[in-house]
Structures are given as C-alpha cells and as structure tokens.
C-alpha cells in the first residue's frame, strides 16, 4: 500500500465522541492540524481538524458539531492537507460560511491559489511602520484616537451599546486623504445574530460597499466550532487582497467575545488546564495569531487595518478577553454606558481609550501641525472637567472658582458637540480641529498649557 492509499483509507474505529471532539484509533500517518472528512451514518459529510496526532490515534475537532456521530458507522478520511482557503480577485462581493464555502447562491470561485489559513507570521523587519492617517469622519477618533493604516484598533463595547452602527460608520467613511486607492472591506461575523448581520449587509448595500467587500458569516445558530477558523479565513483573504493585490483592506471582526467562547469550549472538551476564567492558557498567543496579521509590509502597496469588535462581559474591561486584546492591539476604543445614557453617540470615552499609533499618524503633512497639542489639551481639559464634576458632588457648584466653572462648561459642551455626532455626519479633520479650538475658548486662554504658543497665536479663534 502506498502512502497515498493510506491517506485515502477510511477509518471506522471512532472510539470516543465528546463535546466537539472525536477520537479515532488505528490510524497511521496523520499529521497535526490535518483536515479530515467525516462521513456520518446519515451520509452527511463534515469537516474535522486534527488537534492531537499520535502514532495510531488522533483527536479531531468536528467543525459542524458532533450531533449525529456514532462510534459504529461513522467513518473518517484524512485529506493530507491542513485547512486551506482558495483566494482570487473574485472574492470581492462574495459571501462565505464558516468553512469557506460560498453561500450567496453564485457558483464556486476558481481559486488562484490555495493558502494555509493559519498564515505565517510577518517578519518584524519586513514590517513598515503605520503612519498614514485614516480619516474616519468621527471627531473623537480623528481628533483624539487617530486611526492609521495598518493599525489594529478594537472597539470595546458592552451589550446594549451602538457598536455596530459605529463600526459600519467607520467602514463607510474611512479614507486616506488625498489618495485614490483600491479599497476593500473584509467582514467576518462570528456568532452574531442575523439581525446584526443584516444591519451590516443593508448598510454595505445602501452605500454600494458590498461589491468591494468579502463577507464571512458565522451566525449565532451556526456551529460554534467554526468560529475558530472563520477569522483565519477572513485574514487569509485580507492578506491576499492587501499584500498580493495591493488593496487597502479594512478588516472588521465581530464579535471576538464569541470567538473566545468557542476557544474555551474546545479547551474544556480537551480537558486542558484552564487559565483565567476557564479560558485556555494560550488565549493570548491565539489572539495574537489573529490580531498580528494586520499591518503593512515594506515595499508592498496594500495594508490591513483591523477593527475587532468585542463586548466586555459585564462591562468589565479587566475581563480576560478585553484585557488580553488590549495587550496585543495598538490601543482600544472604549464605549461608555454613562455617555450612552446621556444620549451621546458614539459613546466613546476618551479617558479609557487610546490609539498607540496616533502620534505617528498626525502632525504637519499628515493632518495639521497643531493636532497633537490640541488633542493633549482636550484630554487634559476633559479630565479636569470630570475631576471637578466629582468635586461638585461634594462641595456644590458655588464652591468652585470661575476657572473651575469654565472647565465644567467645557466638559458639557465637549460631550454634546465634539463626541456627539450623527450616524451620517462625516467631519473632515479640519472641521474636527476647528471645533476643538472653538470649544477650548470656553476655558481661559492661559489654561491652554499643552499647546505651544505659536499654535495659539495661529489658530485661537478670534
């Protein structure tokens, strides 16, 4: 029997099925991470992946779930391949399911190349540092939490907050000033509801973005286990479009919390030693293998900018999912329930949010020379205003000096006019900065310590 024959052999000795896993014995030459076809007694076929390979035994995770599997008639055939996804320019405008099959009714695509969905890590020396300012048209982001090309900037939201509409707004409005380049959106849904998915679809359709988009859909009632591989397929597609086709790709991953839940499910089924809150000890490394695929490469046109969305369980930013995400991504956009309750949209709270690449993407030639100083001043003034709000709660407003009163007024106006903006309101960076200056006139001019004098002379509204 040749090696190929062995590969084609169908194994029937399934000895154990538990949760999303199954164990097959008597196998030979099974590779780690290899993909297998599993034939159910009903004749249905499912895909599985090898999680543990031993000389004559293999543990597989079954993508569409183990319902209907038995230990008698179920057979397994190993493909000799790791999980791959076929890429080509035809991906644009198409929709795929959790194992990479088209689900939009159109014919299968003819792939230019089949790629390992796990990808390879970008060599750190090949990376180009992200510097190009992306204008999202949202003042809080552009002015204080600037997004740059090749950055990964997650949205930390919580249940009941309008993260979808903000993500859609970013996808719709994001542009690099003064450049006409090919743009694509890769949208990856992991365990979101069909309502949420429809919202994005409608929005992409309404704005004509759909034909520049590749959609990967794993909805709430789809197999949870497929959530492990779907973001990797989405990123394989993103890498192809960005680094082979030279497009500027915006990858939206929603919702990472569901992804982590699926990971935990598998880890629990394998009886692994649990880490924090039952999530596996390798959650950090695993998340990094997803997030770190964003970036730019020296000498290549395209880029992957990533916006993962996650909901903080119980609004808790210290929960392992937001916590570990924050350690890998270059900042975070944090939504605040308090602002949401005040009717501020997007309820982005500058205090807890951060864009680590901001200082590299702004300034003369990129945005405006006064940008950094203005941003620092806004932070400082808003933080001072918030501190005074606490103070007012104790001592009453009349105990405050005029200076303090002006900070309170500033904070109110800042929330109402700067943070707050409409779903279709697209503010240019000039507008954002001018608005910031206008608001800064509320506090006394001598308080503008974070701004260099020359900018005050030049930009302070008359």
């Amino acid at each position: 029997m040749t090696k190929e024959d062995i590969k084609r052999a169908e194994y029937r000795n399934v000895v154990e099925v538990s949760g999303p896993l199954m164990v097959v014995e008597g196998v030979s030459d099974v590779a780690f991470n290899e993909i297998a076809r599993i034939k159910l007694p009903s004749g249905e076929e499912r895909l599985g992946q090898v999680l543990e390979a031993e000389s004559n035994r293999a543990v597989l995770q079954v993508f569409a779930g183990t319902r209907g599997l038995d230990t008698d008639l179920t057979s397994v055939q190993f493909t000799g391949e790791v999980m791959k996804f076929g890429v080509s320019r035809e991906l644009l405008g198409r929709t795929f399911n959790g194992i990479g099959e088209p689900i939009d009714g159109s014919p299968d695509i003819i792939p230019e190349e089949e790629r390992n969905i796990n990808g390879d890590p970008i060599n750190p020396t090949a990376r180009e540092f992200p510097r190009e300012f992306i204008q999202t048209g949202i003042s809080t982001i552009d002015g204080m939490l600037t997004l740059v090309r090749g950055q990964k900037l997650p949205i930390f939201s919580a249940s009941g907050l309008p993260h979808n509409s903000v993500a859609a707004q970013i996808a719709r409005q994001a542009k690099v000033l003064g450049e006409e380049e090919e743009f694509a959106v890769v949208f990856c849904a992991m365990g979101i509801t069909s309502e949420e998915a429809n919202y994005f679809m409608r929005d992409f359709e309404r704005t004509g973005a759909l034909e520049r988009a590749v959609l990967f859909m794993n909805l709430a009632n789809d197999p949870a286990i497929e959530r492990i591989i779907i973001p990797r397929m989405a990123l394989t597609a993103s890498e192809y479009l960005a680094f082979d086709q030279g497009m500027q790709v915006l990858t939206i991953l929603t919702n990472m919390t569901n992804y982590c839940e699926a990971l935990r499910e598998i880890a629990a089924a394998r009886e692994e030693v649990p880490g924090r809150r039952g999530y596996p000890g390798y959650l950090y490394t695993d998340l990094a293998s997803i997030y770190e695929r964003a970036g730019r490469i020296t000498g290549r046109e395209g880029s992957i900018t990533m916006i993962p969305l996650l909901t903080m369980p119980d609004d808790d930013i210290t929960h392992p999912i937001p916590d570990l995400t924050g350690y890998i991504t270059e900042g975070q956009l944090v939504f605040s329930r308090e602002l949401h309750r005040k009717g501020i949209r997007p309820p982005l709270t500058p205090g807890a949010s951060l864009s680590r690449l901001m200082q590299h993407g702004i300034g003369p030639d990129r945005t405006r020379e006064d940008h950094m100083d203005v941003s620092n001043q806004l932070y400082a003034a808003y933080a001072e205003g918030n501190r005074l709000r606490d103070l007012v709660a104790v001592v009453g407003e009349e105990a405050l000096t005029d200076r303090d009163q002006s900070y309170l007024k500033f904070s109110e106006a800042f929330e109402d006019r700067f943070i707050n903006q409409g779903e279709d309101e697209d503010r240019s960076i000039e507008d954002t900065l001018d608005l910031a200056w206008e608001l800064l006139t509320i506090i006394p001019q001598r308080e503008l310590k974070r701004i260099e004098e020359k900018w005050i002379e030049k930009y302070y509204p008359a």
Binding site: P121, P124, R127, Q151, G281, T285, T318, D323, A393
Partner: protein, 789 residues
C-alpha cells in the same frame, strides 16, 4: 561555578553518531519522541523532516518531551528527531551589534532574504556572518601567560563599540601562536594556546548555553547612576548600573468590582471580595432593596485602602452586593446635585436636630442634608490631616457650625444593570487589591530608556510584543543619534524581536538569549542595559508550555517554578568583577503587564519581590496626559543611597536633600488634595494653597516630560538638578515670605516667574545654564519687589 559550567558543556557532546528518535505524539508546540535514550534535559534536537529546532524539556525512559520553536502543523508521527548534543546556545562574536534576532538568535534580516516577508519554518541561517572579515588587532604576544577572560585582541565592531576578543571560559595557558594584525572571519583561528590539556585553538566565535550564567569572579554593590535623561527617573527613582527595575506595563483601567476581585485585608492576607462577602455576611445586619443587598458589619473589617497614592489601614463598615447598581441623584434647594449609589451614606439632620447617617436610597424629599460649608473648616485644617479627614458622626456633631443644612428638593433614581460587590470604606471609598490604577504608556518609557540611557550596549528584548511596535523600534533606532557619540544608536544596540504571533517556545527562550548576549559584552568590561518587554508575556509562555506538559498548575495556572525562574533571570544582573580583572555590569529593566490590572497576580508579585526599583505607571495620570505617567507616590528605588555618591561627585552634594524636600512637598500635596476634595480649595490657608501651587509646578513642569519634544526628550542630570533647585527655591522663598506675612498668596501665584518655570524644560541644552541663572535672578528680583525691598 566556572568548572561546573565547563563540565556541563563537555558532557553534552554529540553522543553516538547522529542518534535518531521518532515522533510519537504532537499537540501544538509540544511533541513526544521515543528512542532517545541518552538524550539530556535541555538538549537541542532537530524535529521532523523539515528539521525544526526543538529543546528537550522532559524525559521518561527513552521518551523525550520536546518543545518546538516553530509551528508544528502538518508534522506526522513517525518523522525523525535528531540530537545535536548541545544545549540551547547562542553564538557570540563580532557582528552581534546592529543585528535583529528572533528568540533563538536567528537573524531576522537574513531570514527575510531567504523566505520573504513572512517567516516560513525550517529556515537555517547562521546567527553571525561566517564570511565577513573583521580587522583584528592582537594585544598579547607569543609566550604570554593567559587565563580565561583575558583579552587576546580587539575588533572595531562598530564606530562606537570595540569588541574585545577574550580567552573563552575554561581555557588558560601560554600563547603558542597569535594572529598578526589583519582581517579574519569569525571561523579563523586567531590564537593557539598551550594548556594543561594540550593545545587549544581559539577563534573569534564562542558558543554559550543560554540558561547558564557566564562566569564572573564576584558581584559588587552598584554605585553609579544609570543616566536616562528622564527627570522623574534620574532625580526621583534612580536605577544604578547593574541594578534591576520593573515597570508595570500594558493596559487596564476602570474600577473592578467583579466577584473575584482580590482585596488586601489589614492583616496582610488576600481574599476575593466575593469570599469576603460570603464570610462576613452573617456578621452584621442584612438589608435588602430589590436586587441589592448590603451588610452593615457589627465589627468593621480592616482593609488596606488607598488614599491618593498612600496605602493606609481603614475600616470597611459595609459590604455591598448588587445586581442592579441603581444610583440616586439628589438635588438640594441650594442647587447641589449629588449622584450616589443607594447605599452611599449621607449625613442627615433630623427634625430633633440630631445628626444621623442615612443611605442615599432611604433619603426622601424634605430631608435635610448636611453639606460642608465652605471656608468654615479653617480650624480643623490645622489639625493633623488624618484626623481632619475622619469626619465621622462625632466630628460632625462637634462641628455643626461648619455645615450647611440643605433640604432635599428632588430625588431621581437611575437604573443600571450590573453585578457588583463593594466595600464601603469611610472617606477613601476604595481598597487595595483588584486593580490598582495602571498604565498604558510603558513602551514609550522603555523606548526612551533604550534611546537615552548611558549604557555602553543596549539589548532590547521584545518578548511577545506587538509587531508594529517592534517595527517602531526597528525603524526609530537606526535613525536616532546617540547624544554622546553622534552615531546612530543602532551602533550599540542588539534587538531581539519575538512578537506575540511568533512561536511561543521561542518567546520563552528569548529573554535567556538576550541576557547571555548582554553578559558577553559585560565580560568585555562594558555597562550593558537589558530591557525585556514584557516579562509577563514570557511568564505566559512558561505557563502555556507547562499547560501542554500537563504539569500540576500553581497559582493562576502558572507553573510552580515561576518564582524561581524569574528570580534566576533577574539574578543575572549585577555590577561584577570579571575574569581578566575588569569590571562591567548588566542592568535589567523588565516590564510586567499584570492581567486585568491586578497587581496581586503572581508575575507582578514575584517580580516586585526581586527588583529594587519600581516605576509605577498610573492610568489616572495617563488619562490626564501626564507623561511619563509614573506615579511619584507609589514608585520606589532602593538605590538612593547607592547613587548618592555619584550625584555628589558628578552634580551636587545636595541632591539627596533636595530630592527629599521635593518628595515631602509632593506628599504634602497629596494630603492637601484630600482636604480640597472635601471643602474646596478656597478653604485652605494661604500656606497650603501655596504648597499646592508649588507642587503643581513640580508635577507639571518637572515630573512631566515630553518624549516627542526635541529638547525635552533628554534632560541631563546637571540640568535636572538646576531645574529642581530653582523650582524649590521659588517654593522655599515664597513660603518664607508668606509665613512672615510679607506677601499674599495671590501675588505669589501671579508672579511672572511661574510661567518661566513652566518653560524651563524646553530650554535648549546649549544655554540652559545661562538662562536658568537669569530666571533665578529675575525671580529673586521679583520677590524683592513684592516685599517692597
């Protein structure tokens, strides 16, 4: 020690001809192989047909457990495993500097030439170029007696680094032959030494196992300041050359009130808040209000609480647990508005003129609240701060005159769904544990250190770091100029980049590769600084591998040997007397990134036990854009006395004293801030107001430093000292005049010099001496004119 090491290298010599094992199990980065009898722990093996690098981390009979430094997908049981007979080692020799390596010393730039922009597995490139010729100049002659560590000759590795070729550890004898001045590769023999064991050939290349410290004679106490040009570090929390420091990194904000939040109790033990609740709920009166419940404790619980940066023992009087954290907004007739949780207590004046504490949830319209009347606590202020803040019921009764009765005009209840626990601690309303406030910008500080510290050699280990941030380092360093030599900083830097998406086992090895290289340069007599960002990611790699080995987990899933591994790593730092009668040092600056901002987690706690400097980054400061966000009240340095001599010799004897006075002022400020929270700033006496003003100048204009400003990014120690001296002179002089009643607070606050002080940090390097003298002179003139003299 030396012998032991030598021995361990000798023993692991290639066993019987290319012994081959066979893979029997693969699960992620950990594999098992059999038929490896005779293989040793930590021996390096080549795994599979693609010859991936792995290291043996467990042995049972002839079955070895191996961690593989590369991705293992697609490997099939039955593939071969080859022994190399050597522990995981690094190559040492000319060519290290300016290189960028991954965690197991593979040069990333060469990998890129081989496999393109993505790192494919199984690449085999030598860490040091075997072809490049180096200009070698001998310093010993034939017939000279040499021993291990002695210098044979030198190579100008870069413009700023002279590479000293040393006799490898374990060799001593007479020089039989020494190469003449000329060009050699690292493989060429440059000396032959007659030793007791026969003739030994020495080349410019050495190999050294990474998990073993290179031999030294002994360690000395550190005494020189590591100049970093960062004011808050050099002046306030100095690191000595050869010292160890930790800096909390990463990310994390907000108040954590989830059930598993640990709380430090007054007796030093730690419990989760949920446990505390369960334990003590029977020990008091239980109240319920819808979804919430709270227990008023019969015996208040001692907890450690934080009052503006200081940790004090406080009594928690009430435990709270709730599903709905409804808040109550109370409006009073005088226009005050207070938003509180339902259990937050307020002082209420009953119709019988009795003062009682009442939870906000029970307050009704028409109740009369007691609000502090501003400017009325003048007397109380002169008491000790601590006492003053304990405005308990009794004090309130004593000081009825200080409070303004304020009737409630309306009450609004706001709803918010949350499961929370809380401890109510009078006044401070917080407790130690959970998440001490934390930081975001540690990387900026690490980069600043790498750029500006006056170490001769910098080894930067990006261990599980972000790819883009690593790129920032990779692109910034070659462009940056070393302030001392005018050459690019890269010419004294070695980078190790194992980003978070690169194999986890290589991340575990990266800190050892880094420190071994650092020790090698130390052995030449250099002061080396090693920065590891972040040791938490390294510890996580340890945990991940331990989990795959199915080892019994210790605290939070970390292996039981976490503490000893960390200690052993930091212990490799130090100022040392070296073989060959030289001195050199390795300083280690490790970043820790506590998960969930929880300082009580094992990596942080074990690190703090070892290191002697702690730079406490603080989210609150970050939110206020106070950079570097190092909290001056919570940071510490145990090298103050060690480096006082250095400051005295190089800058000014008064440094220690000036630092102490400034710290006292900052400490005073934090105490006063609490009072201000309570009564408003206007209620303070002029002396305290002025102290606040002076402290603000220190905070905003001295402690803050703009890493992105051309001048401010680096501040030499002399300038630091003068800045602080002038600022403190303003305070001391002002205070003196104020006490003598010669000036008013307002006139001091409005002095022109205040603005000048705030711009001192931006005065260019060339003329600060002159300009500062001017500022000081004008200040004194201004003081004189204020007093009319």
């Amino acid at each position: 020690m030396v012998e032991e090491v030598e021995d361990s290298i000798k023993r692991i010599k290639p066993a019987d001809e290319k012994q081959e094992g066979r893979i029997i199990r693969i699960a992620g980065p950990v594999i098992k192989a059999d038929k490896l009898r005779g293989a040793e722990m930590y021996e390096v093996v080549e795994v599979g047909n693609e010859r991936l690098i792995g290291e043996i981390i467990g042995l049972e009979k002839d079955v070895a457990t191996i961690q593989v430094y590369e991705e293992t997908g697609g490997i099939v049981p039955g593939e071969p495993v080859c022994r190399t007979g050597e522990p995981l080692s690094v190559e040492l020799g000319p060519g290290l500097i300016q290189n960028i390596y991954d965690g197991i010393q593979r040069p990333l730039e060469l990998i890129m030439e081989e496999t393109g922009d993505f790192i494919k597995r199984g690449v085999d490139v030598p860490p040091l170029s075997e072809k490049k010729k180096w200009e070698f100049e001998p310093v010993v002659e034939k017939g000279a007696e040499v021993k291990e560590g002695d210098i044979l000759g030198t190579v100008q590795e870069t413009k700023v680094v002279e590479h000293r070729i040393m006799v490898p550890p374990g060799i001593s004898g007479t020089i039989d032959e020494i190469a003449s001045k000329g060009e050699y590769t690292i493989e060429d023999t440059i000396a032959k030494i007659n030793t007791e064991d026969g003739k030994k050939e020495v080349s410019m290349r050495q190999r050294w196992p990474v998990r073993v410290m290179r031999p030294i004679i002994k360690k000395d106490a550190p005494r020189d300041l590591m100049v970093t040009g960062q004011r808050v570090l050099d002046t306030f929390f100095p690191l000595a050359k050869g010292g160890t420091a930790a800096i909390p990194g990463g990310f994390g904000t907000g108040k954590c009130v989830a059930g598993e939040t640990p709380v430090l109790l007054g007796d030093g033990t730690k419990k989760t808040i949920e446990d505390i609740y369960e334990e003590y709920q029977g020990d008091g009166t239980l109240h319920r209000n819808g979804h919430e419940e709270w227990v008023e404790l019969n015996n208040p619980l001692d907890v450690l609480s934080m009052a503006d940066g200081r940790i004090i023992k406080k009594k928690a009087t009430c435990l709270y647990k709730g599903k709905t954290d409804g808040t109550v907004v109370i409006h009073t007739k005088s226009g005050r508005e207070v938003e509180l949780t339902c259990v937050h207590k307020l002082f209420v004046l009953t119709p019988d003129m009795e003062i009682i504490e009442k939870p906000a949830g029970e307050i009704q319209e028409g109740d009369t609240l007691l609000a502090p009347r501003k400017e009325s606590l003048q007397d109380a202020i002169n008491k000790k701060t601590g006492e003053m803040l304990q405005i308990e019921k009794k004090d309130a009764e004593d000081h009825l005159g200080h409070f303004l009765p304020d009737p409630v005009s309306s009450i609004e209840v706001k709803d918010e769904v949350k499961t929370v626990y809380d401890l109510t601690v009078p006044e401070t309303h917080n407790f130690v544990g959970g998440n001490a406030p934390m930081i975001l910008h540690n990387t900026v500080i690490q980069h600043q250190l790498a750029k500006w510290s006056d170490a001769d050699i910098v080894v930067y280990v990006g261990c599980g770091e972000r790819g883009n941030e690593m790129t920032d380092v990779l692109t910034a360093f070659p462009e940056l100029e070393d302030p001392r030599t005018g050459e690019p900083l890269m010419k004294r830097t070695i980078l190790i980049a194992n980003t978070s998406n690169m194999p986890v086992a290589a991340r575990e090895a990266s800190v050892y590769s880094g420190i071994t290289i650092a020790e090698y340069y130390r052995d030449m007599g250099y002061n080396v600084a090693l920065m590891a960002d972040s040791t938490s990611r390294w510890a996580e790699a340890l945990r991940e591998i331990s989990g795959r080995l199915e080892e019994m987990p210790g605290e939070e899933g970390y292996p039981a040997y976490l503490a000893s591994s960390l200690a052993a790593f930091y212990e490799r730092a130090g100022t040392c007397q070296l073989l060959g009668e030289r001195e050199g040092s390795v300083s280690v600056i490790g970043a820790v990134s506590p998960s969930g901002g929880d300082f009580s987690e094992p990596v942080t706690q074990n690190t703090l036990r070892i290191v002697r400097v702690f730079w406490a980054l603080d989210t609150e400061l970050k939110n206020k854009r106070h950079f570097p966000s190092i909290n001056w009240l919570r940071s510490y340095s145990l090298y103050l006395d060690d480096v006082a001599g250095w400051w005295g010799e190089n800058v000014n004897e008064r440094w220690h004293e000036l630092r102490r006075e400034t710290m006292r002022l900052l400490e005073k400020e934090s105490g006063l801030e609490e009072i201000v929270q309570l009564v408003g700033p206007d209620a303070l006496p002029p002396g305290d107001k002025f102290a606040l003003q002076a402290a603000r100048i220190i905070r905003e204009d001295f402690l803050q430093q703009n890493a992105f400003h051309d001048v401010d990014t680096y501040c030499e120690p002399e300038k630091q000292y003068r800045m602080l001296e002038v600022m403190m002179a303003y305070y001391e002089k002002g205070m003196e005049l104020l006490e003598k009643d010669k000036v008013s607070f307002d006139s001091l606050e409005q002095m022109e010099v205040v603005e000048k002080l705030s711009r001192m940090s931006n005065v260019p390097q060339e003329d600060w001496e002159e300009r500062f003298a001017d500022i000081e002179m004008n200040m004194n003139k201004e003081f004189d004119s204020l007093t009319g003299e």
